[in-house]
């Protein structure tokens, strides 16, 4: 079940309520994408807490997973991370990933 690409950025600034709904849907999608991209077969997406650490404790991901998350951002959101070290702040949790995605999508081209 491949998640859809999010819709292109709206022409006008979205209302705060629609950002919240988008954000919730984005986080739900992200969790499913993470489980799929990283082959976390035994993990139910909904069991990943929004602010749970992805690396170290929590899901216990490693440096290869960090590269796979870069692939995930590129494939599903068209966002490129050129320096893997940037991943250290972006991939802290589902929340930080969602923040980054929304910031990138809202940024003027």
């Amino acid at each position: 079940m491949a998640p859809e690409h999010p819709s292109p950025q709206p022409a006008s600034k979205p209302s705060s309520r629609s950002i919240e709904m988008d954000r919730e849907e984005l986080k739900r999608n992200l969790k499913e994408q993470i489980v799929k991209q990283l082959n976390l077969e035994e993990v139910k997406p909904e069991s990943i807490a929004d602010d749970a650490p992805l690396f170290g404790e929590g899901l216990g991901l490693d440096s290869i997973d960090a590269l796979e998350l870069i692939v995930l951002l590129d494939r599903h959101y068209g966002i490129k991370i050129t320096d893997p070290k940037d991943g250290r702040t972006i991939f802290v949790s589902v929340n930080t990933m969602a923040d980054h995605i929304l910031a990138q999508l809202a940024a003027p081209k």
Binding site: Q37, L38, N39, L40, E41, E42, G60, I64, L67, E68, I70, V71, D74, R75, K80
Partner: protein, 298 residues
């Protein structure tokens, strides 16, 4: 030489092909298994079961063989390149496509920090792994060593075999076999390897010396060349059986033949052509100009 086999596990079981249970699958931690495709998991499960059977917590060395390595991941990464040309690629499949991935993964699971070598030489891959284990065992007689071989199947291989005209003569399959070996016999010992041969340009000729095979062999399990059907030269007066009719063909099939030999030596298993009283079994394969063989005794 004398290399004692203190446990041996394979999948599929040549004497029980209907049994789809993978030995040791419950020993493989699911979290650790997440980066392993299904075929790779079967091999590693067999390895863990063999270690459990031998009562070995951590092997002192790991010696592996594989004919084609991780075919699923090799094809997977070729597809990844094709489908994402010019874009960012997922690295996991590439990482797993190096031939020593199974040996390395087993070492990681068990934090086994001893020697770890993978051979990839077609149907002789396991033989070289066994020879390396023998060298190690001679230097360290108290060590317990993990030796194994695993090969995967993919539909693409069947398509290639088809255009090569092999369909009908050669059935490509997959399989894995792992053994725990040492220089010393112990309570779990199933048998010993007393001879290993890998000979080049021996086709049509006797590849053993008369000293090496001085006693009559009770049973020969042979495998023909997958491409030409050429048979290896067999020692005279030996009852012989084409083991590939049980295992199919893949680079690690000799490992399953080794398990067949041990099963025959240790149980009452009998099938057409096998005979009853068996104390020695020779497994021998012909591939191209090479003949590889191993002698297993009680």
């Amino acid at each position: 030489m004398e290399l004692w086999i203190n446990a041996a596990v394979c999948h599929p079981l040549p004497w029980d092909l209907g049994n789809t249970d993978v030995p040791g699958s419950e020993l493989l931690n699911k979290g650790a298994a997440r980066r392993m495709p299904a075929q790779m998991r079967k091999g590693i499960s067999c390895a863990l079961q063999a270690l459990a059977n031998a009562g070995t917590v951590k092997p002192d060395g790991i010696f592996m063989g594989t004919g084609l390595g991780q075919v699923d991941d090799t094809i997977g990464f070729l597809n990844e390149i094709e489908e994402n040309a010019g874009g960012i690629l997922s690295p996991s499949g590439f990482m797993r496509s190096t031939h020593n991935t199974v040996g390395g993964t087993i070492a990681l699971l068990l934090t086994a920090d001893g020697p770890n070598i993978t051979y990839s030489h077609g149907l002789a891959s396991l033989h070289w792994a066994l020879l390396n284990a023998t060298l190690h065992a001679e230097e360290h007689p108290t060590h317990n060593l993990l030796v194994g071989a695993a090969d995967e199947h993919a539909p693409l291989l069947d398509a290639l075999a088809n255009v090569a005209g092999l369909t009908g003569r050669t059935t490509l399959t997959s399989g894995a076999a792992f053994a725990v070996v040492s220089a010393v016999r112990n309570a779990t010992s199933l048998g010993k390897i007393t001879g290993l041969w890998t000979a080049l340009r021996a086709n049509g000729k006797q590849w053993w010396t008369n000293e090496e095979l001085s006693a009559p062999i009770d049973l020969v399990l042979f495998g023909s060349d997958p491409f030409t059907g050429a048979l290896p030269v067999l020692p005279p007066h030996a009852r012989s059986l084409d083991y590939r009719s049980f295992t199919g063909t893949h680079g690690s099939a000799p490992g399953q033949a080794l398990c067949m030999a041990l099963h025959k030596l240790n149980t009452g298993w009998s099938t057409d052509g096998m005979g009853t009283a068996v104390t020695s079994v020779l497994v021998v394969d012909q591939h191209g100009e090479e003949t590889s063989a191993m002698l297993i005794e009680r």
